[in-house]
């Protein structure tokens, strides 16, 4: 009887440990705040994952709201924001002409993320512009030009 209860307790303990391990694995840390972990940004198609060097991002990132959105890069011509909730790298073009500054922002994106263009095409990147800046291009959504 005693032996059986020992087994039962042991099995319960193992199950709890398994539960804990699986729970821990499911709670992936926010990569921007974990310098020891390689960050993961899921691609827009959710087929592949690419790995980025977080340290460079952390240096230039600034939390912009309580949702944890990060301002990766900003000039008067464009702004790059990371939305952690849907792993989206968001580029807002803030000057005209759109095409010129889109190109500039794309270059900056590769540089700040320290990735090549092939890798960047696996990311969920969205490029837009507000209506008051570029009324012609506003309302449209673009991907990186070299991924088109």
């Amino acid at each position: 009887m005693k032996k059986n209860s020992r087994y039962l307790i042991f099995i319960a303990l193992v199950l709890l440990l398994i539960l804990f391990v699986s729970k821990t694995l499911n709670n992936k840390p926010n990569f921007f705040f974990n310098k020891n972990t390689k960050p993961t940004i899921t691609s827009s198609e959710n087929r592949q994952e690419s790995f980025l060097d977080a340290s460079k991002l952390i240096k230039s990132s600034q939390k912009i709201n309580d949702n944890g959105d990060l301002l990766i890069s900003e000039t008067k011509n464009y702004k790059v924001i990371y939305f952690p909730k849907n792993n989206q790298v968001f580029v807002s073009i803030l000057s005209s002409p759109f095409s010129k500054f889109r190109e500039e922002a794309e270059k900056e994106l590769l540089e700040v993320l320290d990735i090549d263009s092939d890798t960047s095409c696996k990311l969920n990147v969205l490029i837009t512009t507000p209506r008051f800046v570029n009324p012609e291009e506003a309302g449209k959504e673009y991907v990186l030009s070299f991924c088109e």
């Binding site: 307790i9 709890l16 539960l19 804990f20 709201n65 924001i81 507000p130 008051f132 506003a138």
Partner: protein, 714 residues
């Protein structure tokens, strides 16, 4: 062996405690510390009240009302069916309660979101919302579906305290549910203690410096501080209102004025009565329903007493302040100059220091060395001592061709232009005073039910059935109001505007709407003929159905021809929780306006290129809005409390470029930060000042037109 078992047990307990027991988020606030047991003042027999303020965890103001349900004089009431859709003040004054708060969220002002009943008349069905119930003997009970028979019932959005414990979701604070422990809003809550004391808590919010609001978690802990055993959160935000009889609205609703809400909860010391004590509306007694006739036949007058609080900014007469300010109003740049300057325009001294003049476009008097040759030549030639080098913009009666510095000429008998500045400043404020008219058509609902919509209504006895998708000529019934032209005139000559002052519809062209009357005409008089005639004859009845799937047009569902956004915050999935079934429209607008950039800032009003200081996802404009009277005359700028009051100068001249002048940069910075918060921006876009719950889109007229969402052309 025993030791090993103990060790295993201990290990088991440790692992259980560490990893399985729910963790409390230490980072989340449990709200302000306060003593809910002292310093309450009595406002009626059995009702006490206290106003609290705190600076931690943030600036807060809230109100706690305690109602002793053991007191036999206390009576409780829920808005009756015919009292729906009014302000809490109107509810209080109509039914004579001593204290009233706002009630449940709503689908429409006459359709609360959850279960609601008044004196046995259940007018809103149960929903997942939590409810509390009041028996005929004024016994209050929380949760469930209510007793049998149901007497009074009202619902709220969230159960926050159950059986003396804060609800689990406000303890665990799941990050995927920021509405539990993160979002700050004004709140209204009702709770009940174990000793039968009803607790009302109303927290003000969205007003930095006064009260920023609390999370639901904090509200739950506040209720626990007041010993609530059970508590639910009612409608909040701009709806949160607490009214006392004889004292009016006690809190400061975040809309800046009291909001019309669906239902209400009232407490009467001495007994409530569903018979309205006063009739704040006009009872229409002479009604005809022939199309084209005036349904409102008669003249009613009312005297409106009001107090208007306003402030004006005047220039202060000192150290050239007036000189600079008045000249600026003339689009001139003037300042105080001493005699070492020649000025193109000399306005006299105005308020400049002694020995100085107020001048515009002033240049230094050249040195004696620079003017020496000129002076000598003028004296030699004309015998005058006033020769010298004067600026080109001065005119002289004598000129001499002698060298002077660039932009100066040699001359005598010279002078500039004399100007005048009107030192009289006037401040004219035209306040808008709102006079609400409520149309009350006696028995209209009952007639509508008996003749048309009721299960045994006359209309429904005629075949074919009212049914969608079966080819029936009547696919659905719509509650169409009757409309009648009506004239609002002022006896003292004041401008009268009907409806929204922004629209500026003249009072003489107003319309009055009568619930159900139009529907009676449509169905009982017209459609009844159609269904009795052979197919194809008779007038066409309203067709289609509100519940059927929309036809596949290839366009986004919900209306609009533009694409929905794929960005984080403008996506339909994100907006759905706020905009519901109009999320697609909101997404299209958000995509066009900001592209999904929560930090988008259009400050073009500063340079005069557009009337914008527009912020965030929905580009919400913070600039005070010009107001026009019915004749199109500008009457002032409205610095609405929900935009960014105090940030900009509300000078009437700001309808000319530059369209805005920043008055207080720190206020503006706070506002910008607030409106750049995506959730706040979305909530404001959805709120009553902009899309009004996703029902009107003309604040984004360009997008509304561009995407075919709404015709916003005047």
């Amino acid at each position: 062996m025993k030791l090993t078992e103990k060790m295993l047990f201990t290990l088991l307990l440790i692992v259980f405690a560490l990893f399985v027991l729910p963790k409390t988020s230490k980072a989340q606030s449990t709200g302000p510390d306060f003593n809910c047991n002292v310093d309450f003042q009595q406002i009626s027999d059995g009702i006490t009240y206290r106003r609290f303020t705190a600076s931690s965890p943030r600036t807060l103001t809230w109100y706690v009302v305690k109602i002793d349900l053991n007191n036999p004089n206390i009576d409780l009431m829920v808005t009756p069916r015919e009292g729906l859709g009014r302000t809490t003040s109107s509810f209080l004054s109509t039914y004579g309660s001593d204290v009233a708060i706002n009630g449940d969220l709503h689908w429409s002002l006459t359709d609360p979101a959850g279960l609601a009943a008044s004196q046995g008349d259940q007018y809103s069905d149960p929903s997942p919302e939590p409810s509390f119930f009041i028996s005929e003997a004024n016994e209050v009970r929380f949760w469930g579906r209510g007793g049998d028979p149901l007497w009074d019932a009202i619902s709220g959005s969230n159960g926050i305290v159950r059986v003396g414990e804060v609800a689990q979701n406000y303890i665990t604070c799941n990050p995927s549910r920021p509405q539990d422990c993160v979002h700050l809003h004004p709140r209204t809550s009702v709770g009940l203690t174990g000793n039968n004391t009803l607790i009302l808590i109303v927290v003000d919010g969205r007003q930095p410096g006064y009260s920023e609001g609390v999370t639901l978690r904090e509200l739950a802990y506040m209720m626990r501080t007041c010993n609530a055993r059970d508590a639910i959160n009612m409608d909040g935000g701009g709806s949160s209102t607490l009214v006392f009889s004889g004292q009016g609205v006690m809190n400061q609703p975040s809309d800046g004025s009291e909001r019309t809400v669906s239902n209400h909860f009232g407490i009467c010391s001495g007994g409530c009565s569903l018979t309205p004590e006063t009739r704040p509306y006009c009872m229409v007694t002479d009604v005809r329903n022939n199309p084209g006739d005036d349904l409102f036949a008669g003249v009613l007058t009312a005297t409106v007493n009001y107090t208007a609080n306003f402030s004006c900014q005047f220039l202060i007469w000192t150290n050239g302040n007036l000189c600079r300010g008045l000249a600026a109003e003339e689009n001139e740049e003037a300042d105080c100059y001493n005699s070492g300057y020649y000025c193109e325009t000399n306005y006299g001294r105005v308020d400049c220091p002694i020995d100085q003049i107020c001048g515009n476009n002033c240049v230094p008097v050249p040195s004696n060395a620079d003017s020496a040759n000129c002076q000598a030549a003028i004296e030699f030639q004309y015998g005058r001592s006033d020769g010298g080098c004067y600026p080109n913009f001065w005119s002289c009666s004598i000129y001499e061709d002698e060298p002077c510095p660039p932009n100066y000429r040699c001359g005598a008998d010279c002078g500039g232009r004399l100007g005048t500045l009107d030192p009289f400043e006037e401040c004219v404020v035209n306040p808008y005073v709102r006079l609400e008219t409520i149309v009350k058509t006696p028995l209209a609902r009952q007639i509508w039910d008996k003749l048309v919509a009721g299960a045994t209504g006359v209309f429904k006895r005629f075949p074919p059935k009212v049914e969608s998708g079966t080819g029936s000529p009547i696919e659905y019934l719509n509650e169409i109001p009757g409309v009648s032209p009506v004239r609002y005139v002022s006896l003292d000559g004041s401008t009268v505007v009907a409806g929204s002052p922004v629209v500026g519809r003249p009072g003489a062209e107003a319309e009055m709407y009568f619930p159900y009357i139009g529907g009676l005409h449509q169905y009982f008089l017209q459609c009844i003929q159609t269904i009795l005639r052979p197919q194809g004859y008779g007038q066409v009845c309203p067709r289609g159905t509100a519940t059927a799937e929309p036809p596949d047009t290839g366009l986004p569902p919900g209306g609009g021809t533009c694409q929905e956004s794929n960005s984080q915050y403008c996506s339909v999935s994100y907006l759905q929780s706020t905009f519901g079934n109009t999320a697609s429209i909101a997404s299209q607008i958000c995509r066009l306006e900001s592209g999904g950039d929560p930090t988008a800032l259009n400050d073009n009003c500063l340079n005069g290129s557009s009337y914008d200081y527009s912020v965030g996802l929905f580009q919400i404009n913070l600039v005070p809005i010009p107001q026009y009277d019915a004749s199109g005359n500008l009457i002032g700028l409205v610095d609405s409390s929900w935009r960014c009051p105090g940030a900009f100068v509300t000078d009437i001249n700001r309808v000319q470029p530059p369209y805005c002048i920043i008055q207080n940069q720190s206020i503006l910075n706070e506002c910008v930060q607030r409106f750049m918060d995506p959730d706040f921006n979305i909530a404001t876009a959805w709120g009553p000042h902009l899309s009004n719950g996703g029902t009107t889109w003309c604040d984004w007229a360009y997008a509304a037109e561009q995407c075919g969402i709404q015709d916003c052309l005047p």
